[in-house]
């Protein structure tokens, strides 16, 4: 705890360093070669390693894993002025030359990262950015992304992390709700920004990184800025209570919502994961998830930066490049989402499969049906699956590596993060109430909505920091759950808790569904579709595709003679990100609705995309061309047999969008 960087608790004794003096990745590789001399993992070995009960890799027990995470996060409240940028600065003092952030195009050592953070901080301060000021950031995945938000937030500004794949109205909406004074645009994002410009109420000051016109030159401004750390008076009274980021979540109804993320939560995410991952200065994490999301952008990089380790930032996931990158950058950890593991598992076996030095895969959404096959084939020694939502007030961690579970709250934290599963009405999606007006807790094995009690720092539950829109915040809170005066955060996720207390993810409730790692709001998609010429009515929902995680978007349309598939295929793509475009389309005569004009989707959802069940024409979107073509029985059989990719473009193209 007294270390210079102050974030990592050095473990005394023999566990402290590699006995051979080799870097950890070399050790991992040497160990692997001993275990699997032919480069072939034996089924029993790898599965046992990744699914061990009660202990994690390197013999660290579950109790000690939790202890480290709690230790790393317990200092946060005691030092309210110590922000994440300070952790980077401390590591920069201690190990300036060691790698912090790497990509193919950019290398930032700790010293360089700290200097870059300070440049952003000085630049922002000179512009008068501080508390109550917001800067939108539109930049593809690259090391500079982290320097940008760490710097601007360190002097009190909020950085709104905007999804770089948004266009038009959705993009304008996200910029609008941030009430931003400035927008930082990587040159690559200029074209997307131009599609949003006509929809903006006002245009903030534009700053451009890289060659491009239409705004001020941020490169030049940063080059002129100071690299020294700001003094305390220069920085002002910025504490962990202050807002650091806005991170967007797709709402169950309507457009993306901007969730408030305080410095406290940035620090907690970094500390929790550094502790649970047992991260050290020798670790290198591979991060190919979007940096504008909370996991790819905060959890993954901050877990390593908290521990003095390094992060490789890939621009995007590519199944073809993945293992090359892991080996080339000598990564020891990678951050996954379940879909990514599924793509890797579908690729043909290769020599590269077990040549890596990975010790840990950490992420969320690795489902039980592929967990063990994934761990075995790629010889992943440890898997740390977790559950968390950007705006959520609790997280679950599967420290023991129980296949298919998303985690559990350890008994000694149960009082601090009370989590419940309550019965919900299947049609309305609302919690069911008993005769006393309270919610009904689900029994073990019973599916309901997961809720987390809202409370203060150490007592009664986790804080819910809400959205920029207070009405949206209120919608996520349910009151009178187990007592008249309590308040709980609604996750919108259906889960069950097994006899051992492990939670299992079932599905999203109601209107939103998950596809390719993104939550898709059916109402947002539906609004875009309904505007299309020739579409009289539309209903959008998700359908299960065998072998794929989540649900694929499907639109049921009522059309007139003006409808033209060529126009339809292009129309919503001006307003929606590619992953939100309907994969399937069916044409109906009418759409059923409730008396309150809510669409009745259950029948449509259950019919799916099976041409022997669906009456009327049925179509599939070709990811390569964007056009829709009819689904016949042969197409259907092919999708059921070998997944949607066999029919729609290549795997990597499908994922890379």
């Amino acid at each position: 705890m007294s270390s210079a960087a102050g974030c990592v608790v050095p473990t005394p004794g023999p566990a402290m360093g590699p006995p051979s003096g080799l870097p950890r990745w070399e050790q991992g590789r040497a160990a692997r070669e001993r275990t699997y001399p032919q480069g072939q993992a034996t089924k029993a070995d790898a599965t046992q390693e990744a699914t061990g009960r009660g202990s994690t890799q390197r013999g660290r027990s579950t109790a000690k894993t939790w202890l480290k995470a709690i230790e790393l996060t317990s200092r946060i409240e005691a030092e309210p002025h110590r922000l994440f940028a300070d952790i980077v600065e401390e590591w920069a003092q201690r190990q300036p030359g060691r790698p912090a952030l790497r990509s193919d195009a950019q290398f930032l050592s700790y010293g360089q990262l700290a200097a870059r953070i300070n440049r952003y901080a000085h630049w922002a301060r000179d512009l008068g950015i501080g508390p109550a000021r917001t800067v939108c950031l539109l930049m593809p995945n690259r090391p500079d992304y982290l320097a940008c938000w760490l710097g601007i937030s360190s002097i009190g500004g909020t950085v709104a992390l905007i999804n770089t794949r948004l266009v038009g109205q959705s993009l304008a909406h996200c910029i609008g709700v941030a009430r931003a004074d400035h927008v930082i645009l990587a040159a690559d994002c200029l074209a997307a920004f131009e599609t949003a410009r006509p929809h903006l109420d006002y245009v903030p000051q534009i700053w451009i990184l890289g060659a491009g016109r239409g705004g001020a030159d941020l490169d030049a401004a940063l080059d002129a800025a100071d690299t020294r750390p700001l003094s305390s008076p220069e920085r002002g009274d910025v504490t962990i209570d202050g807002r650091a980021l806005l991170i967007y979540t797709s709402g169950t109804t309507g457009l993306p919502k901007a969730a408030n993320v305080s410095h406290r939560r940035v620090l907690r995410w970094g500390g929790w994961f550094a502790g649970l991952m047992d991260a050290t200065v020798d670790d290198c994490l591979y991060d190919c998830l979007p940096l504008h999301h909370s996991v790819g952008g905060v959890v993954a990089p901050c877990s390593m930066l908290c521990a003095g380790g390094s992060v490789v930032i890939a621009e995007k996931f590519s199944a073809g490049k993945f293992w090359d990158d892991i080996v080339r950058f000598e990564c020891t950890v990678f951050q996954y989402i379940g879909e990514l593991c599924r793509y890797l598992l579908k690729a043909p076996p290769s020599d590269m499969d077990v040549r890596h030095g990975l010790r840990l895969a950490v992420g969320n959404g690795l489902r039980g049906d592929i967990w063990e096959a994934f761990a075995r084939r790629f010889a992943i020694p440890q898997i740390l699956e977790f559950y968390a939502a950007t705006e959520g007030n609790f997280s679950l961690f599967n420290v023991e590596g129980k296949p298919g579970a998303i985690g559990r709250i350890p008994p000694l934290l149960a009082h601090r993060f009370p989590v419940g599963i309550v019965k919900v009405d299947a049609d309305s999606g609302s919690p069911v109430r008993n005769e006393d007006g309270l919610c009904i807790a689900c029994a073990p094995g019973e599916v309901g909505e997961a809720v987390g009690r809202i409370g203060g720092a150490e007592r009664g539950g986790g804080a819910f920091e809400g959205y920029t829109d207070s009405a949206e915040t209120e919608k996520k809170i349910v009151r009178g759950v187990f007592a008249e005066d309590d308040a709980w955060f609604r996750t919108g996720d259906l889960m069950l808790r097994d006899e051992q207390g492990y939670f299992h993810f079932i599905d999203r409730i109601g209107d939103s569904f998950r596809w390719k790692g993104e939550n898709i709001s059916s109402s947002e998609v539906n609004d875009a579709i309904r505007d299309c010429p020739g579409v009289l009515d539309a209903s959008t929902y998700g359908v299960i595709v065998p072998g794929a995680d989540g649900r694929a978007g499907m639109a049921a349309l009522v059309v007139d003679r003006a409808f033209d598939f060529a126009v339809f295929a292009k129309h919503p793509s001006d307003r929606l990100p590619v992953y939100a475009l309907p994969v399937f389309v069916r044409i109906c005569r009418t759409l059923a609705a409730t008396e309150t004009f809510k669409q009745k989707k259950q029948q449509l959802i259950s019919e799916g995309f099976d041409p022997s069940v669906v009456r009327g024409p049925l179509f599939l979107r070709d990811a390569a061309t964007g056009s829709y073509r009819p689904i016949d029985r042969a197409t259907y059989a092919s999708i059921v047999e070998s997944g949607i990719h066999s029919s729609v473009g290549s795997k990597s193209r499908c994922f890379e969008r």
């Binding site: 009660g54 709690i70 709250i409 006899e499 207390g501």
Partner: protein, 81 residues
């Protein structure tokens, strides 16, 4: 030394390290009244795992954390080391 006295001894030591004022330890003392926070409990469970060779809360089928000192001690006494 009995399991009980080893647990009490560990609690007193952690209380001293963490600057927690520990009330007299007796079976019906509610755990929240010990003054132990999450960190102190995490240290306690990790130390007892080293000392006694067990962590009853990792292997427990039921996930409820004990509510009193007596229940906490029994959780250790009821698990064969």
């Amino acid at each position: 030394m009995s399991v009980r006295s080893r647990i009490f001894s560990a609690m007193r030591q952690i209380a001293e390290e963490q600057k927690i004022t520990l009330p007299p330890l007796q079976d019906d003392l509610p755990l929240p009244d010990t003054g132990f926070d999450s960190l102190a409990f995490a240290i306690l469970v990790a130390r007892l795992e080293d000392d006694l060779g067990i962590d009853p809360f990792t292997i427990a089928e039921e996930v409820t954390f004990p509510s009193t000192v007596g229940e906490f001690v029994r959780a250790y006494e009821n698990v064969p080391a």
